[in-house]
Structures are given as C-alpha cells and as structure tokens.
C-alpha cells in the first residue's frame, strides 16, 4: 500500500478546510436568496393550485411537472444561456452580469416548484372544519388563516421545508459549472493549482462539509418542529 500513500494523503483533507470554508459565504448567499425568492413564488403557485381558477391551477401544476422533470444542471445552463439571449431580443445586454444572478434565478425557479407542493400539501392537511370553526366564533377569514390555519399548517410543512432546503443546498453544488466560485468552485481551483493531484482529499473535505451542513439543517428543523408543535396532539386526534 506504500504506493497508495503517494496518491492519497489524509492531511490534505484537514488542511483544505481553512481554504474552503470562507467560500461557504457565497454558497449561503446564493442558497439564501433562492430560498427567499423561491418561497415567495412558491406561495403564489400554491395559491394558484388551491384557488378556484381552473386555468391558474393548470398553469401551476404544469409548471411543477416540468420543473420536476428537469435536471438542475440543464435548468442552470438553460438560464445561463437562455436569459441573456431572450434579453437581447428586448435590447437589454445581460452577458456581463455576475454568474451568481443566474444561479439564484435557476434555484429560485426550482425551489418555487418544491415549495408550492410543500405549501399545498400542508394546507390540505388541515381540515376544513378548522376554518369554519374559526369563522363561526367571529374571526375574520384573514384572522382565521393567520391564527388558526397557518400555525397548524406550519408544523406539517416544516419537515418538508427542511428537506427542500437540503435538496436546494445540494443541487446548488452544481453552480460551479457556470463558473461560480462557491465552496465547490474553490475546491476545483485548489485542485487545478495542485496540478490535479490530491483531488480525492479535497473532494472528501467537500463531502464532509456538505454532510455536516445537511445534518445541522435536519437537526435544526427537528428542533423547530418541536417548538411549534405545542398543539400537535389535537391535530393528530382530529
């Protein structure tokens, strides 16, 4: 195995962390913006799916199906090449803007589709009787949503929201393909600077970073769920 050591040196794993970790900033920034915008558009899509307008419902469902069938990397490149060339048609020049913008657009589109399903299923899990009871004791429809429906739906939605976030974080690792220098992008730069040696160690470091992040998100959402599920027995019993 002595030859193996020539190619694999575990110390590279540890020494690459200080170089990689600062670039999590970019990863978080891109993911955070996609989550904020994606949740917002997801809410709109969900209300289209739950609303009475047939056309809106069809459009929203069609959008979700298409997005579900599209690999992230294909969507990423479609946005990266497609958005500027569409903009060209309107005389807007977008070829020089930051790649991060394209990444955020891509994952906003994707996260909106995920969130629309999370919100829809959470809303549908709450019985109609809850709303009717709230209105019957004199709450306005808005108050009924805010004080009765939303808190219950939130508990149902939280684990799925957490899973969506983990998925987004992982799909986001593809942003390096259009030149974003996040943790993965930086890792590839380090490897290139090493003349492609010790790539494995750097990748293992990357895997460890993502693994820990995912576990933290999962644990965090578990805690949140506990915090918000005060009335959960009642939900289960109904």
């Amino acid at each position: 195995m002595s030859n193996m050591e020539k190619y694999f040196d575990a110390s590279y794993i540890w020494s690459s962390f200080p170089a990689l970790l600062p670039f999590l900033k970019i990863t978080f920034l891109v993911a955070g913006l996609s989550i904020i915008f994606g949740t917002f558009f997801g809410l709109i899509l969900a209300s289209m799916k739950l609303g009475k307008n047939k056309v809106a419902r069809k459009v929203a469902n069609f959008y979700t199906t298409i997005l579900r069938c599209t690999p992230s990397i294909v969507l990423l490149f479609l946005v990266y090449y497609g958005v500027p060339s569409i903009a060209d048609n309107f005389g807007i020049y977008l070829h020089d803007i930051d790649t991060a913008v394209f990444v955020v657009i891509t994952f906003t589109l994707q996260f909106a589709a995920i969130m629309s399903e999370v919100i829809r299923s959470a809303y549908e899990s709450i019985e109609k009787g809850q709303f009717e009871a709230a209105v019957s004791v004199g709450l306005s429809p808005f108050q009924a949503y805010r004080r009765i429906i939303f808190p219950q739906a939130l508990v149902v939605a939280l684990p799925n929201f957490g899973n969506g976030m983990i998925a987004l974080l992982q799909e986001g690792s593809l942003a390096y393909t259009i030149g974003l220098i996040d943790v993965v992008g930086k890792a590839n730069l380090i490897i290139a600077a090493n003349y492609n040696t010790h790539a494995l160690e750097i990748f293992i470091a990357l895997a460890i970073i993502y693994w820990i992040l995912s576990i933290l998100i999962e644990k965090g959402f578990g805690k949140l769920e506990k915090m918000f599920s005060k009335g959960k027995q009642t939900i289960k019993a109904t």
């Binding site: 195995m1 030859n3 193996m4 190619y7 694999f8 199906t65 298409i66 579900r68 069938c69 599209t70 690999p71 992230s72 990397i73 294909v74 969507l75 490149f77 479609l78 090449y81 497609g82 500027p84 060339s85 060209d88 048609n89 983990i166 992982q170 799909e171 690792s173 593809l174 993965v184 790539a199 494995l200 990748f203 293992i204 990357l206 895997a207 993502y210 693994w211 820990i212 992040l213 995912s214 576990i215």
Partner: protein, 237 residues
C-alpha cells in the same frame, strides 16, 4: 446574438440528444437492479434492528442524503482508480485502469446513491404494513419468507411505488451529471454538438425536452402499474 434560434440545429440536435437516451436508460436500469434488492434487504435490517447492519445503513443513508451526487461522483471517479492501481500493483496485474469504460463508474455511483434512497423508501413502506399481517400469515402456517413474499411485500410495494417512481425520475435526472465521468448520455452528447457553433440555447432546449418526455413517460408508466397493483384497495365505504 439576437438573431433568434437556429431551428435547423434545434431539430438536428434533438435527435443527437435522443441518441443518448439508451445510455441514460441503461445506467438507470442497472442502478435500479442493484438498488431495489439491496435497498430492500438493508431496509429489513433497519426494521428488525439487526445490530451492526442497522447502524451501517443509518450512516450510509445519512451520507448519501447529506452530500451532493456530483461530489459522490467526484469521489468515486477519483478514488476507484487509486484503489485499483494499488491492487494491480500489489498483484502485478497488467490492467490499464484509465481504459475502463466510464459507464462502470456510472454504475457504481448511481447504484450507491439509489440504494440509500430506496432503503428509506422501503423502510417507511414496510412500517405502514401492520404487524398483524405478518402474525396472521405466520398463524396460518406460512414461513417468514413466504409471509414476506406473499403478504407483506405486495402491500408495502403499493405504498412504496410513488416514492420508487420519484427515486427513478431523480435517478434519470442525476445521470445528466454523467458528463463529469465523460459518460456519453443525453446531456453530454447534445453539449458536444453545441460546442461547434456555440448553439448552447438550442442544445439545452433539446436536452430539456428530452428529459421532460422521458420523465413524463416514466411517471405515466408507474401510474399505470400502481393502478394495477392497487386493485385490492377499493375505496372502502
């Protein structure tokens, strides 16, 4: 650049992208063939709390779910040649490691990740079949194996099917990352065609279309199969 789409290229490349479908499906099929039985067996170790295997499955699932597939690909693509080199040098075999067809790497990576996903799918499906079903089967004289094969698995399968469908669609989508192993699948083929004249928008539109058609067909197929399996679940009054 704003001279619109190159329609001839769009049509031609659609067929180039389409020609990658067999490889995509081949990798998908092999990964499923490995992952379905293996995932099921490991799910059983989770359900029955078999000491060491249970913990192993837990860590395995956590790793796969916690790391991006592209990084799993990087790791396999970087580590397998190292390991093989070490082995071949030790035994003085004369194998050219860098001649290995990339499809083997694809088999390894996608079987590895799909197995973990299916462990979770089967675990949750098996836990929906009540213990009474197994007990009743044992009580009428079926062996454990017969009870699983004839009573528990058919019921768990119905529950698992929508999730197996999702896993399959995700697997097909994930094979688009085969470019990192120079796997000649849909995405890579169309991209290479686009390199000549910088027709990237057209190429990615074609790839986009092929995946939508492919995944819609798979989803439709699963729905049909599910309907057939579900025949015993009439809406009870």
């Amino acid at each position: 650049m704003s001279d619109g789409l190159n329609y001839k290229f769009l049509v031609d490349t659609f067929f180039v992208a389409l020609s990658g479908v067999p490889i995509t499906l081949f990798v998908t099929a092999v990964a499923l063939l490995v992952a379905l039985p293996l995932g099921f067996l490991l799910a059983l170790t989770r359900i029955n709390q078999i000491p060491i295997l249970n913990t192993f499955s837990q860590v395995y699932v956590s790793f796969v779910r916690g790391t991006p597939i592209i990084i799993q690909i990087f790791i396999v693509y970087a580590s397998v040649p190292l390991i093989l080199t070490a082995i071949t040098e030790k035994y003085n075999w004369n194998i050219k490691i860098y001649d290995i067809n990339p499809i083997w790497y694809a088999f390894i990576v996608f079987s590895f990740s799909t197995t973990a996903i299916l462990i979770e799918v089967f675990r949750s499906a098996l836990s929906t079949v009540s213990k009474g079903q197994l007990e009743a089967a044992q009580a009428v004289g079926l062996t454990n194996f017969q009870a699983y094969r004839r009573i528990v698995i058919p019921q768990a399968l119905v529950v698992a099917l929508p999730n197996i469908c999702t896993a399959t669609v995700n697997l097909i989508k994930a094979t688009s990352l085969g470019y990192a192993m120079s796997l000649q699948e849909i995405t890579l083929k169309a991209k290479v065609a686009a390199n000549v004249g910088y027709n990237y928008v057209e190429a990615y539109l074609d790839i986009f279309l092929v995946y939508i058609i492919l995944c819609s067909l798979v989803e439709y197929g699963f729905k049909l199969y599910e309907k057939r399996l579900r025949k015993y679940q009439y809406v009870s009054s």
